[in-house]
């Protein structure tokens, strides 16, 4: 009792290690804790400095929510590492942090996107959209002259001092239309300064450009004459706008036709005829994307055949790569074989190439007329590897086998080597034939460790977008049937076509909704399979 209680107050390492070996080790050990403490303080200091800097910037940008999260996270990190004890938390904290940043946030964010109309045409906020519409609707009056310009300032009010093409000098502000003034001119006849006003140089202009670029100085009292604006600070042009924004009514009016565009509730300004102004903005749409996902004709039509092929593709890919990988693993695991290491390195090569690159190479090899397979291997045959619906399916599986077997080879080799030799020896002594040894002893033991990886491999192939997209693009398409889905389209590529290839273009909201639905399918399959593997484990 008396030993343990005071010991807990002191650093854990020092007392037991120090006592038997005398003062020298004690000193070294003490130095170690001091050094560890210093390193800890330094690292924590760096983290805090970065966090503080980030928070400072977040305050400047008025990102209050992110600021609050950053502050809380920083405090938690400091508490975890400064308080003694809580060893598990110390180990887990970095992992949890990065898990949150790179996984949970991303998944959560796509979940959120599924409930918005984010996509082409709905890219930003309403304020940005209004600003863009106003800017885009300003058009320069055709054949209007260029006014040479000096931007002037008086008590915080900016004005335009311009020289019109006839050489007359005029001054105006956004409130006060252009009037003739007497001004000083430079050698080229351009008015450069006027009494009572300060002229802005290029540096001043740049410093105030966000204000100056929005200045609009009317030509006369009649707004239809247009207004002078400057895109560069040194020349001004006459602009008219055919769309006028009314802030109180939150609507745009077309000055040429008198049509009114109002916020139609779908994230865009729309007139009575249903014409939308571009751009719109991002809004929350509730379950609309999911509703569209289920009612979309281009999905519903080919859904059954595509789903069947997706499952077939994923299952056959896993099965074929596993069988080949396992076979090779057994062969190269044979104790008497020579040059095993070299063979193993060669086997792993397909795994080392980027998958999309291999797909592109195979695309060339499969060419009907010029490809290596037809030209060289089959002596000039013209087999439509990628343009016949069934051959294309076969080609996809073949390429995926080539791409996938090294992975299975690696994990099977590892699993085989972890099975103790004594087991098979014992079985042989009991009179079992080699195949029986494999089937009854090695294979079940192998499956215990490999089965979870097979399930994850299934999940990966279920969404193997790269391969399909690069090799066949989902084709060949039955053009006469009038559906977009091709013979090799899996769910994810079909969804890609629908969400990114129709109507206004890329529709991230719809794509996220689809992604969530596909996730549900994969999750269900995986959970069921994992249950099965557990049963397998208990069996052994």
């Amino acid at each position: 009792m008396s030993n343990t209680t005071p010991g807990a107050q002191q650093p854990l390492l020092a007392p037991p290690a120090a006592r038997p070996s005398g003062p020298r080790t004690a000193a070294r050990s003490h130095a170690q804790t001091v050094r560890g403490l210093l390193i800890k303080i330094a690292l924590l200091g760096i983290v805090d400095a970065i966090a503080l800097f980030a928070m400072f910037i977040l305050v400047m940008r008025e990102q209050w929510l992110v600021f609050a999260i950053a502050a809380v996270v920083t405090v938690i990190i400091n508490v975890i590492y400064l308080r003694p004890g809580r060893l598990p938390a110390k180990y887990l904290a970095p992992g949890v942090f990065f898990l949150a940043v790179f996984q949970i946030f991303v998944v959560g964010y796509s979940g959120y996107i599924a409930f918005t109309n984010y996509g082409d045409g709905h890219n930003s906020t309403k304020e940005d959209a209004i600003e863009s519409i106003i800017a885009n609707s300003l058009t320069r009056v055709p054949d209007s002259p260029t006014y040479r310009l000096t931007v002037v300032e008086q008590f915080g009010t900016y004005g335009f001092l311009v020289t019109d093409p006839d050489g007359e000098t005029l001054l105006g502000t956004p409130e006060q239309p252009l009037e003739e003034v007497d001004a000083e001119e430079d050698s080229t006849g351009k008015a450069v300064s006027v009494a009572g006003w300060t002229s802005l140089g290029f540096g001043d202009l740049l410093a105030n450009q966000s204000v100056v670029v929005d200045l609009s100085v009317p030509l006369s009292d009649d707004p239809n004459d247009g207004a002078l604006r400057t895109p560069d600070g040194s020349s001004a042009y006459v602009y008219t706008s055919d769309l006028v924004y009314d802030e109180s009514a939150d609507s745009f009016t077309d000055t040429t036709g008198g049509e009114v565009y109002v916020d139609g509730g779908d994230g865009a300004f729309v007139n009575e005829a249903g014409r939308e102004l571009q751009p719109g903005w991002k809004i929350d749409v509730g379950f609309e994307n999911f509703q569209r996902a289920f009612t979309n004709e281009d999905i519903r039509g080919p859904l059954l055949s595509v789903t069947l092929w997706t499952f077939a593709f994923a299952i056959l890919s896993v099965a074929s790569t596993f069988v080949l990988g396992l076979f090779l693993a057994i062969v190269f695991n044979a104790p008497h074989m020579r040059g095993k290491k070299i063979y193993r390195v060669i086997m792993v090569l397909p795994y080392a190439f980027p998958g999309f690159l291999s797909a592109l190479v195979f695309l060339g090899l499969f060419n009907e007329q010029f490809g290596f397979f037809n030209q060289v291997l089959l002596g000039g045959a013209s087999i439509p590897w990628l343009t016949d619906p069934w051959l294309a399916k076969f080609s996809i599986l073949f390429v995926n086998l080539w791409l996938g077997f090294p992975y299975m080879f690696l994990i099977c080799t590892g699993a085989l080597q972890s099975i103790p030799e004594e087991l098979s020896e014992a079985a042989t002594v009991d009179g079992a034939k080699p195949f029986a040894v494999f089937r009854l002893i090695k294979f079940p033991l192998l499956l215990v460790s490999v089965a979870p990886l097979l399930i994850s491999s299934f999940a990966f192939n279920f969404n193997n977008f790269n391969l399909i997209y690069m090799l066949t693009g989902g084709g060949p398409r039955d053009i006469e049937a009038g559906v977009d889905a091709g013979a090799t389209d899996i769910l994810i590529t079909l969804v890609y076509k629908v969400a990114f290839g129709e109507g206004t273009g890329r529709d991230y909201g719809l794509a996220s909704a689809f992604a969530i639905l596909i996730f549900l399918i994969v999750a269900t399959v995986s959970i069921v399979s994992f249950r099965q593997t557990k049963a397998l484990e208990e069996l052994n």
């Binding site: 980030a54 519409i133 009907e368 053009i479 109507g503």
Partner: protein, 417 residues
């Protein structure tokens, strides 16, 4: 998940960077915040691809010297710029200027991320087609720097004379094949799944079938398809004929077509200036001709224009405008960009200087007849149906006219949503 995760990761990474790294990724100096200070401390951020970055370094240095505004060049993969820009601009962390192709414009405007650019009197100093391409619904948005289009490249040793019509070309090409002087009557790079509507467009246009109706002010009306008119159907019938005669072959990809032409196996190759270096290195004695008409009207290719856009979220509109109009829009810079990229300059004076290169002059003459590739967002929807229908027709599936009509219907229904 694969599809969407990239953009989510970008957005996610952006948002999280606020927690972790906000300070590190913020542009040097927040412009506009301290507007009381007379001294401007901001900088321009420009997204540019690796090829063009070198040229822009010099002009950026000049701009910094003369105007006191530093220009930060961020090198990006050209193909990734459009989507990343659309995602990042609304967050306020996007660049001030991007380099881009003109057919991105509709999408950029649709998303409200690009700001109109007033070229002022400078507009008349650029090729008309370049300024038109950089305009959308009557408003100019970008500063063009290059113009490119396809033309007919002819192997003079096999085909000594430029064909008047596409039928002449086929006759001459087939004669050359019969004599054994060539292996293919005609070459154009197609894709087994998507053909290549871009390369086949001049032939289609010669039947009087553009993609969209062209309105009175010379811009496209993205709601009215013109693909489906009689000319379009006549083109569909011809496609079938050419496919069966082996003039068009969807197994011949762009790479294969170039290889075979460089190997001297065909008299004609429908391609753009990007393949000229390979052809001349291959020792082919070539000439560049206008594309012969197939349907009677002029075979006008699509013209592609590249240029620079200003972000609508930029706090440095003046500096960006000044940099583009008065620095990028100059003779030296446009010429330098032409020299590094091989694309003809958009600025007239630089374009005329580049005429000393016979290839540029020849492609330019063909491009003068061309129309800008449509830059309306609806184009994204058009390409896929258009291409796969062309494949089906060329390869002899179904009735060409019916396929063509089904395609028009499908595109129309996707455009209207």
């Amino acid at each position: 998940m694969k599809v969407t995760s990239r953009s989510f990761t970008i957005t996610g990474a952006l948002a999280m960077s606020a927690i972790v790294l906000a300070g590190c990724t913020a542009p040097a100096g927040e412009p506009g915040e301290g507007s009381e200070e007379p001294q401007f401390e901001g900088s321009l951020t420009v997204w540019v691809d690796a090829d063009r970055a070198g040229v822009l370094e010099d002009v950026a240095a000049a701009f910094e010297d003369e105007r006191g505004v530093s220009v930060e060049l961020v090198t990006k993969d050209f193909g990734a710029i459009r989507d990343e820009f659309i995602t990042q601009a609304p967050t306020g962390n996007g660049p001030d200027i991007i380099v881009g192709a003109h057919d991105w414009l509709g999408k950029l405007v649709q998303n409200g991320v690009v700001s109109p650019l007033e070229l002022g009197d400078k507009a008349s100093e650029f090729q008309d087609v370049a300024v038109t391409a950089m305009s959308y619904e009557g408003q100019t948005y970008g500063l063009p720097y290059s113009v490119e289009n396809i033309a007919l490249v002819r192997n003079v040793d096999i085909a000594p004379e430029a064909p008047e019509t596409f039928d002449d070309l086929i006759a001459a090409g087939q004669a050359a094949v019969a004599e054994g002087a060539a292996e293919y009557p005609f070459l154009v790079g197609l894709d087994p799944a998507a053909a290549d509507p871009y390369h086949l467009y001049p032939l289609q246009a010669s039947f009087g079938a553009p993609v969209f109706e062209i309105t009175a002010d010379g811009t496209y009306d993205p709601t009215t398809l013109a693909l489906g008119n009689e000319g379009g159907e006549a083109f569909a019938v011809k496609l079938r004929e050419w496919g069966q005669a082996g003039i068009l072959n969807t197994n011949i990809s762009g790479d294969i077509a170039r290889e075979e032409f460089v190997a001297g196996k065909s008299g004609y190759f429908l391609t753009g200036p990007w393949n000229i270096p390979a052809i001349s290195e291959g020792g082919i004695n070539y000439a560049i001709d206008p594309i012969p008409t197939a349907g009677g009207e002029t075979a006008t290719p699509f013209v592609g224009v590249q240029g620079f856009y200003v972000s609508s979220e930029s706090e440095n509109q003046f500096a960006a405008n000044e940099f583009l109009v008065n620095y990028i829009g100059t003779d030296e810079v446009q010429t330098a960009l032409y020299e590094v990229g091989g694309r003809a300059p958009a600025l007239l004076s630089a374009f005329e200087a580049a005429q000393s290169d016979a290839d540029v002059a020849a492609f330019g003459a063909v491009g003068a007849e061309g129309v800008p590739m449509p830059n309306v967002p609806a184009m994204d929807v058009v390409w896929s149906d258009w291409g796969s229908t062309e494949v089906a027709i060329i390869n002899g599936q179904g009735d060409p006219v019916e396929l063509w009509r089904a395609m028009v219907e499908s595109i129309q229904s996707k455009i209207t949503g």
